[in-house]
Amino acid sequence: MFRRLFSPRAARRSVLAGLALAVTLALGGCDFDPVNPNAADDADALGTRDGLLASAVGLQRLYNVDAYAPLVLVPAVTAREIAINRTLINLEELEQGMGNLPNTNNSVGALHSSLYRVMALAQGVRQGAETVPTVEPALRSGLVALASFYRAAAIGGLAQNFTHVAVQAGPGAAFVPREQAFAQAAALLAEAEQVLTATPPNAAFNATLPQGFNLLASVRAYRARYELFAGNFQAAIDAADRVGTATSRFAYTDLAPNPIFNAFFVGTPSYAARENLGLPSVEPGDARVAIYTTPTPGGTSTPNGFPTDPLAGFFAAGRPVALPTFLPGELALIRAEALVRLGRLPEAVVQLNAVRTKTAAQDPFGVGAGLPPYAGAVTEAALLGEIYYQRAAELYLQGLRLNDQRRLGQPGPAAGNPFVRNRNFYPFPLQERINNPNTPADPPV
């Protein structure tokens, strides 16, 4: 036995076997697909039930905090609701507008990229909700509806500012005209509404939503908004009606702060509210000017010297203070506009008056014009003009005015006039153009 073991041949064999064993052990220790312990990957985030719940939280953060700031503030400068108040190149380009706004502008870039991030994540959450087997139906309905809501909000937000929108985020995304994008957003919300009413979400899903955020009401209100923009007037009226008196809020905390408050009150503020909400004139007695701002003589913006007033209202209430997902006044104004477009002018006046005569105390968000009923001409043109004014004052800093100006026949860019929009649509960012051959041509202005 001893001899056998130590015979040259046996020794050779045993050594070789030992080496083979060592190699086998070494290769056995080869893990070519280690899990990243430092961060979740797609499989964790979108392929598991817990990951989808965390992604649902992240999706809300991404839109409500990160994307909401450029969505509101960038077009607010263009539509003259606010003035830039800091000499940063991207802000100066934005306030100059017209041909001075290059496709490398960072502010426009942020508006563009952050909404596509929202869209991409929303698509992922929806796909995960529909494919992960451990997601129960009452969770699935909530996730699908939430994802659809935010994807629609991203599409709608882009269509308000760009001529074309890629309605499906991803490599080599294709663009559709903005009218089609609004219709797509409305369709997503219609589906979300159906899913939510058919299978009300369970507690597991609802726990991801902050207090005050009413998903169903938000879906219906945004549907009303985009149906209107898409030209589906009756559908817009119906959706607005289904909201009823429900309200909804984007909640904020110190760690996920109110982005409008941050932009106006934290650090070196980049923006200031324009005097009279940036309107050339306001109707005497319109209480909303003093609700949204604190009229103070003498304030001017840097570097362009526009008269400014300190921002007030819920925007100024603090970092952890919620913002309305939509304002109740918008629903009445959607109905008014849709009724005008449908030729039902007297009914439109009723809706207008609901906004005109509303006082701050009657509004869940404290927004009230306190004006007498409408006394102007009941013609389509006059009513649309009045609707524009009411939307501008009622929906101050909701990210809507640029689109409203175009839709409601307000005059377009004019050099030297600080009361008309300085662009109709934004140029597509250069980063998109050089990396996506489908990028449409830039609008002239």
Partner: protein
């Protein structure tokens, strides 16, 4: 039947006829130096093709036993630095055989040197189609280096060693044939005795600039030799890890014979080599400038720098029998930094035991432990700005920084930290405990067939702490700061290789096949906070803790390789090799990558036609050519292929969303293709050797961050899109003009050029954020790491434009008129202002547009080493040169600014030599602050005396006394401390950036070495 089976087995194993009747022989002899007749301890004697052999003892005696069949063999006698001798050995009936005295001649060409790096099997250099650099212990240890990388400076062409910091354990970067990556580390792969070792530079605490690199844990005294493989042409067998080249370090091993004890002790003194001239003007501002007051000026360099002491103790014991050899050593190093409060200490121990388990099976087990660390003082302002030299340069130097004699509060009023307070009060420490070990087994199945297995382990834990008490001048930390960070790293590698050698007529064939598995794991944790109570130095005491951080990484690389070499008639050698490997860091679709290599070496002087006239001029001539491919993975994070979700909170709930950088599921290694051609020539009757090599490298699939269409939902992604080329020439000349038995003069000169060009950068320019947001860049068509910033304003012809101010406002004027700079104060108005011919004030123009303003990469590097030996006295001097590289003198730029005004530049402005506002205007013209960083340094100087035997104390067999110096002089036109240091530390893309990094000191030392 039985013999038939036996024969069949022999055929299978291709063994020779060694299985015939064997006799046990005892062989003995002596190996001596041919010139001096001195013994050559450590020289090896081998019976070729049998594995039998031994090493010479202290007297050069060799004795070993071998069981062999009678016959004629070849005895090979070799020693590092000497020409190998081969002589026939006839074994007959006598069992005791003496082969007499073998005298080895010094090998100037080193063509007989046996190397293993890049070839996998011990191979004589003459058989290689590529250059391989080798450095012996003697050359490395001449001037008592602190670390092996520092010691490699100037030793080989194409090996650019840069000491980035003069701190006690300041980091060192090595570039082999230029930089081969952008996003990853460009330092070579280090292998110690077959173990892949970590040489990262973990900046666990923010020391302002660079930090240590972990090669500092290795005691250079333990090293026997170093082999350097510079590029893909030679390194294909290292596959995906070899784009930056490979440095293999061999530590000392035990040798047969009585115990040999070496005891070594040295002391050294380091000092600042050059001081900066500080502003001595007695006024704060120039005449006529608001705020001019009388001030007292100080030179804070007196408070920061000191004469620093160092000491090193080393003991090694080695010996062994035919079956067992051993080597053990222990060392202690203390190196004080020239910045007060900075010191580095290293305690190290190493052991290796070799054991023959049978005639065929040998085992070698080695282990090294090091505990290294010390106290640090932050300097340099690239990252945190609380350093001592940072405080000095921001000044202003009008504050008495000493503590108040009553309250003890340090002087206030500096822009940043009070440097005296930094060196006296801050408590920054690092400590690394490291074990590196290996088990190596070799099995000689037959004289032709051999198996080798290596298991390597390198593991360490580095802990760093930072503490700034409350109430100091540290900017941003009025209430104090504490941090603790720890890193653990473990590398394991398995290597198995089989070698088969045979002869097919006149063709010798060597076949190698092998496999490797390499696993890395690391984890780091860090916690820190501010607002710390008095008396507490730990993070437990902070009132405002920051969220603790932890990251973990793991990676595996596995590969298979094969190599076939044919040697034709002993003069033409052809090699083809390849490796396929895979790494967990690569995308699944690109996981396996193949790297081929071919090379040829042709000893043309061995041909018949060479004899005669040609041989008279060039006694030996060898031509070589090599092509190879390698990969690079240092730019690839272990998890870069995944999308990463960033934790966020919303509504006080934890959630996440995707990072803006998209994962790269198809990530693959950067790929280098290199061709090198060269010649090794023996000149002057073999007394001089010239090695010339030209190489051309092209690294494609270079990883760069590429922007994405935002409609993808991401903004950027790592992509394999860039291209980097390195081309250059390397020349190595070794000569021995004088060689008698009492005197010798040996010289070595190296020269290397490298031209590096980047392409494939999106948008032409990629500015690197870690140089203050972009003062270094990759620019298409230029070398990597060029300086990028505002240029001088120039007219269309490239003339510098100044600016005159007349009634209409600023107008451009040429800065040079009639060949004279306008700024020279030729005319002064009564107000003291410089005016041009029209009476207008002249200023430098505001800065021009941003562009490339300098290039830190030298045009050429070289060295010149001379060794003179007269009897018992030896003298060695090494000069290193680096020519044509620029340095961005950010230090001077800051100190010239009127808000700081610490250095003599601003004194010139105060005294009216230049106009008020001159340096304020130049502050934004970055091109002005680029200087030529060319230097020639007196790198090493050693004077050694060997004490004669008669004077030796009893028991002492040899005694050497040396005086040495390092970095004694620098010949340069650089205005700052040192053109060599770099505040970017070991960063790949921040080179040549001077921003108050600790300068490299001038060091003198005395060393005594005794062998017992």
């Amino acid at each position: 039947m039985r013999s038939l089976r036996h024969a069949a087995l022999l055929l299978v194993l291709c063994a020779s006829a060694s299985a015939a009747a064997q006799t046990s022989y005892t062989l003995s002899g002596r190996v001596l130096d041919a010139r001096q007749g001195a013994p050559l301890p450590g020289a090896t004697v081998l019976v070729e093709g049998t594995g039998a052999g031994a090493a010479a003892d202290l007297d050069g005696q060799v004795r070993f036993s071998a069981t062999l069949a009678p016959g004629t063999y070849t005895l090979r006698v070799s020693f590092t630095g000497y020409r190998t001798e081969r002589r026939p050995l006839v074994l007959g009936a006598a069992a005791v055989v003496s082969f007499g005295e073998v005298r080895l001649a010094e090998d100037v060409l080193r063509s007989d040197e046996v190397v293993v790096t890049g070839t996998g099997v011990p191979t004589e250099r003459r058989q290689l189609g590529n250059t391989i650099g080798t450095v012996d212990a003697r050359d490395l240890q001449a001037a008592a280096p602190r670390s092996v990388d520092q010691a490699l400076a100037g030793k080989l062409p194409g090996v650019v060693v840069q000491q980035n910091s003069g701190a006690a354990a300041g980091g060192v970067s090595i570039r082999l044939r230029g930089t081969g990556t952008v996003l990853g580390s460009a330092d070579p792969l280090y292998i110690v005795d077959g173990v892949i070792v970590d040489n990262s530079s973990p900046n666990l605490i923010d020391l302002g600039g660079g930090g240590q690199n972990r090669l500092v844990d290795l005691n250079p005294e333990d090293i026997e030799r170093v082999e350097v493989v510079k590029g893909a042409a030679a390194a294909a067998l290292y596959g995906s890890r070899a784009n930056n080249g490979v440095v293999q370090i061999f530590t000392r091993r035990g040798q047969t014979g009585a115990p040999r004890v070496t005891l070594q002790s040295s002391v050294s003194q380091s000092a600042l080599r050059k001081r900066l001239a500080v502003n001595r003007a007695p006024f704060s501002r120039p005449v006529g400038v608001a705020g001019r007051t009388e001030v007292q000026r100080f030179d804070y360099q007196d408070d920061i720098f000191r004469g620093a002491l160092g000491t090193q103790q080393y003991l090694s014991v080695s010996g062994g029998t035919a079956e067992t050899t051993y080597f053990v050593s222990g060392g202690y190093l203390l190196n004080q930094g020239i910045v007060r409060g900075n010191a580095f200490e290293r305690v190290s121990a190493r052991a290796r035991v070799g054991q023959a388990l049978s005639r065929a099976l040998r085992l070698s087990v080695g282990g090294a432990y090091a505990s290294s660390g010390g106290s640090e003082i932050p300097n340099g302002g690239l990252a945190a700005n609380y350093g001592a030299l940072t405080g000095f340069i921001f000044g202003p130097n009008t504050v008495d920084i000493r503590p108040d004699p009553v309250t003890g509060v340090y002087g206030r009023g500096l822009v940043l930290a009070n440097p005296l307070e930094v060196v006296e009060v801050y408590d920054f420490r690092q400590r690394t405990n490291r074990f590196t070990g290996d088990v190596q087994a070799s099995y000689v199945a037959s004289p032709a067939l051999r198996f080798d297995y290596t298991l390597g382990l390198d593991t360490y834990e580095q802990a760093a702490t930072a503490f700034i008490p409350r109430g100091t001048t540290a900017p941003g930390f009025p209430a104090g700061f504490a941090r603790r960070a720890e890193l653990t790293s473990t590398l394991v590698n398995h290597d198995l290789r089989a070698r088969y050698q045979t002869r097919l007529g006149a063709v010798a064939s060597t076949t190698l096949i092998g496999g490797t598995v390499e696993q890395d794991r690391s984890a780091s944790v860090a916690a820190q906070g501010t607002d710390i109570p008095v008396g507490v130095r730990t993070i437990a005491g902070v009132a405002v803790p920051a969220a603790p951080g932890e990251t973990r990484a793991q990676r595996v690389v596995a590969g298979l390789f094969a190599q076939q070499t044919f040697g034709v008639a002993g003069r033409l050698f052809l090699t083809a090799a390849g490796r396929v490997d895979a790494s967990s860091a690569f995308g699944a679709a690109n996981r396996w990558n193949a790297y081929p290599k071919v090379s040829a070496s042709y000893a043309v002087s061995d041909e018949a036609f060479w004899r005669g006239a040609l041989a008279g001029i060039l006694p030996t001539a060898r031509l070589r050519a090599s092509y190879g491919e390698t990969g690079g993975l240092t730019a690839i994070g272990p998890f870069d292929r995944f999308n990463r979700y960033v934790p966020v909170t919303y509504n006080n709930l934890p959630g996440f969303y995707p990072a803006t950088q998209q994962g790269q599921p198809d990530i693959r290694p950067e790929r280098q293709r290199e061709i090198e051609v060269g010649a090794d020539l023996g000149l002057a009757g073999g007394r001089a050797g010239l090695e010339v090599t030209y190489y051309s490298q092209r690294t494609t699939d270079l990883l760069l961050n590429r922007s994405l269409a935002p409609t993808t939902g991401f903004s950027n992604q790592l992509q394999n899109i860039g291209v980097l080329t390195n081309r250059g020439l390397e020349v190595l000349l070794r000569a021995q003009p004088v060689a008698t038995n009492t005197a010798a003069w040996t010289m070595t000169a190296t020269f290397a050029t490298n031209r590096n060009v980047v392409s494939g950068i999106e948008g032409q320019v990629l500015q690197f954020p870690d140089a203050f947001g972009g003062f270094t860049a990759a620019v298409n068509g230029r070398a990597l790491g060029v300086f990028y910033g505002s240029t001088y304003r120039r007219d269309a012809d490239g003339n510098l434009l100044g600016q005159a101010v007349d009634r209409s406002g600023p107008v451009p004027v040429p800065l040079v008129q009639n060949g004279q700079p306008v700024l020279v104060p030729a005319t002064r108005t009564p107000g003291g202002f410089l005016v041009d011919a029209s009476g207008n004030q002249v200023y430098f123009a505001p800065a021009g547009p941003a562009g490339v303003i300098g290039d830190p990469n030298p045009d050429w590097t070289g060295s010149f080493i001379n060794e003179l030996e007269f009897g018992r006295v030896a003298f060695r001097v090494q000069l290193d040169a680096s020519v044509g590289g620029d340095v961005f003198n950010f230090t001077r730029r800051l100190a010239a600014n009127p808000n700081f005004g610490t250095l003599a530049d601003y004194q010139r402005e105060i005294e009216g030599e230049v106009l008020p506002g001159h340096f304020q205007r130049l502050f934004g013209t970055f091109e002005h602050w680029i200087e030529d960083g060319s230097f020639v340094k007196l790198r090493e100087l050693t004077l050694t005396y060997r004490v004669p035997g008669a004077a030796l104390p009893p028991g002492v067999q040899g005694l050497r006394v040396s005086a040495y110096g390092r970095n004694l002089l620098s010949f340069d036109n650089y205005s700052g401390y040192d053109p060599e240091v770099n505040v970017g530390g070991q960063r790949t893309t921040v080179r040549g950036f001077d921003f108050v990094e600790t300068p490299i000191p001038r060091t003198f030392g005395l060393s005594v070495s005794a062998s017992l």
